[in-house]
């Protein structure tokens, strides 16, 4: 009993770390730069698939039951680097056509559409990543090398994920406090003024999009090496909105808020039903969870648009942008 609890908790810590990376990435893009990445989960998926195919070995070997492109057998830290690069490259490619100076609502809609279409492409094109069935059997890194029990390995992996979280957090905090970060906020708050003082807003957007994509790819790589499988079921367009809801609840633009939100929404809220008595037919609870995520999202926008822990603003002129509420 006790060991199953520690197994469960250590798994949750890994999920928490992965979601925290997602929260940091979205907070950098949305909170600091004002870029709405409604296709976030696609970049996480890109990282996960990339890490999976470079760990699984060549496709089509003896006894192979799954098809994929570019199989390889890279040693431990390399798949994560490949995953990070995959997220960044895909983000660069998508950003090139979606981040031009078009209306923000169109931009967000385009990224949502990217998310909806990417999944259809992966499902339909089976030789790419084994279609709807997805990839399984991804080995855990160094599992045969480290002298650890299953429990010990779980905690070691959780610690590894949290370490990477901390490093990414320090990097992003440093970036957002740098002149580059101030340029991002200038672009977010007053785009025309930012253009007028000579900032290249299209390039800034693309940079922040690629950095966010790299973090997304890393989170996907970490996740797939832990759970060992990845399929289109894991990256429905709605997964992006769990993270968005988390940062809305906690507080956009504030990393402590992101931490709180990620703890509240994907971890506590989405895990809670496992401890409640089951209701209805199997699958009902999952559907209702999504309904509640949607409602929570709308309530956040209505009641507390800046979240539980708002951004601490520098003392400056009052906000004159004409917000009525």
């Amino acid at each position: 009993m006790l060991s199953s609890w520690t197994f469960y908790i250590s798994t949750l810590v890994v999920y928490f770390g992965v979601d925290l990376l997602s929260g940091i990435s979205l907070n950098l893009q949305y909170g600091y730069a004002g870029v709405i990445n409604f296709g976030y989960i696609v970049f996480q998926a890109a990282g996960a698939y990339a890490a999976a195919v470079v760990t699984l070995g060549p496709s089509g070997g003896a006894g192979s039951f799954q098809k994929y492109i570019f199989g390889a057998n890279l040693p431990f830290p390399l798949p994560l680097l490949v995953a990070t690069a995959a997220g960044a490259i895909l983000a660069g490619f998508v950003g090139l056509f979606s981040l031009r100076r078009i209306r923000r609502d169109y931009q967000a809609a385009v990224l949502l559409i990217v998310s909806l279409i990417a999944i259809q492409v992966v499902q339909a094109d089976i030789p790419l990543f084994n279609g709807s069935n997805g990839l399984t059997g991804v080995p855990r890194p160094l599992v045969n090398v480290l002298p650890l029990s299953l429990q010990g390995y779980q905690w070691a992996y959780a610690g590894w994920v949290l370490l990477l979280c901390a490093l990414v957090y320090l990097l992003v905090r440093w970036l957002s406090r740098s002149p580059w970060g101030r340029a991002l906020r200038a672009m977010r708050d007053q785009e025309d003024a930012a253009v007028a003082i000579g900032l290249n807003v299209t390039a800034l957007r693309l940079q922040v999009f690629v950095i966010g994509g790299a973090i997304a790819g890393l989170s996907g790589g970490l996740l797939v090496e832990f759970i060992g499988a990845w399929s289109p079921d894991a990256w429905g367009y709605a997964e992006t909105f769990v993270i968005f809801t988390a940062i809305f609840v906690g507080g956009v633009r504030n990393y402590r808020g992101v931490l709180l939100g990620v703890l509240l929404v994907p971890i506590i809220f989405l895990q809670l039903p496992q401890f409640l008595p089951p209701i209805g037919y199997p699958g009902l609870v999952q559907s209702l969870e999504w309904v509640i995520i949607g409602v929570l999202w709308m309530l956040c926008l209505l009641l507390r648009p800046s979240g539980l822990l708002p951004e601490r603003r520098a003392k400056a002129l009052p906000d004159l942008s004409g917000r009525v509420a």
Binding site: A109, V110, I113, A124, G283, V291, I293, G294, V295, M298
Partner: protein, 296 residues
Amino acid sequence: MLSTLVSAIAFGVVLASIIAIAAMGFTLQFGLTNVFNLSFGSVMTIGAFAGYLAEVNGINAWYGLGVGGVAGAVVTLVLGRGLFRLYARRGAKLFEMMMVTLGLGLAINYGIQAISRNNVYQFTVLQAAPLHLGPVTITPTQAILAGIGLAIFVSLEALLRLSRIGKALRAMAAEPALARSCGIRTGQVVIITWVISGFLCGMAGVVYIINSQSVGYATGELFLPLVIAAAILGGAGSPAGAAAAALLMGIVTEVVSAYGGPQYSTVAGFGILVLVLLCRPASVLGGQAREMRLTL
């Protein structure tokens, strides 16, 4: 080879009429109220299920089109007058409103998933022997759907061009403040917009499932990218533009599907949207957005 092309174009016209019905509703709503309604696909699914339930309960499927339309109109009106206006009063701008519709779409989609037990239901009505028109083999149902699309396009254009209501709608879309000061009852016009666009939306859902012969919770959501692409390509607020864009997209999608395999048809639709963003920035430029306000 030529016959493949001709029949692909014929199927493209059928698909286009389905896209066009939804896209005309979307563009009318967006052009007039400026709400970029990402819950449009969810309301389509509501319409589709209303049509399905009507058929199950013994109502002729063609009347089901009307049932779906009415369901879509009622839901859209309630959302527009109730929910969206609530947010607008609390200071939501264009962008916040889009986020609201997204959360709403999520809630509706998965609500339907919960109610429908995540099943896909067969909707195999109105099957008849296929017609052979030269090289093209098409079912009578498909021919009728294409006819319905055309009829709706003509009547919507007639409404907008010839009637007083249409004139008021066009005036509101162009310049709400001026329209109001000219004595147009803007509140009524907005209500009419929600009703018409909602009716088209719900009806498009039923048309879609008549053609695809199945209905599930994701019906509208999978279709939404094509609808939005057609509306953006055609220019916001222009039903004629949306219809022309839908025709282009329908034909391209089916031709690509015929030659390259069905898995590339969605990619083709997506490719068109990307091309629009790259080549037609005039209809999507950033500058206009600041001028626009929500009209609710």
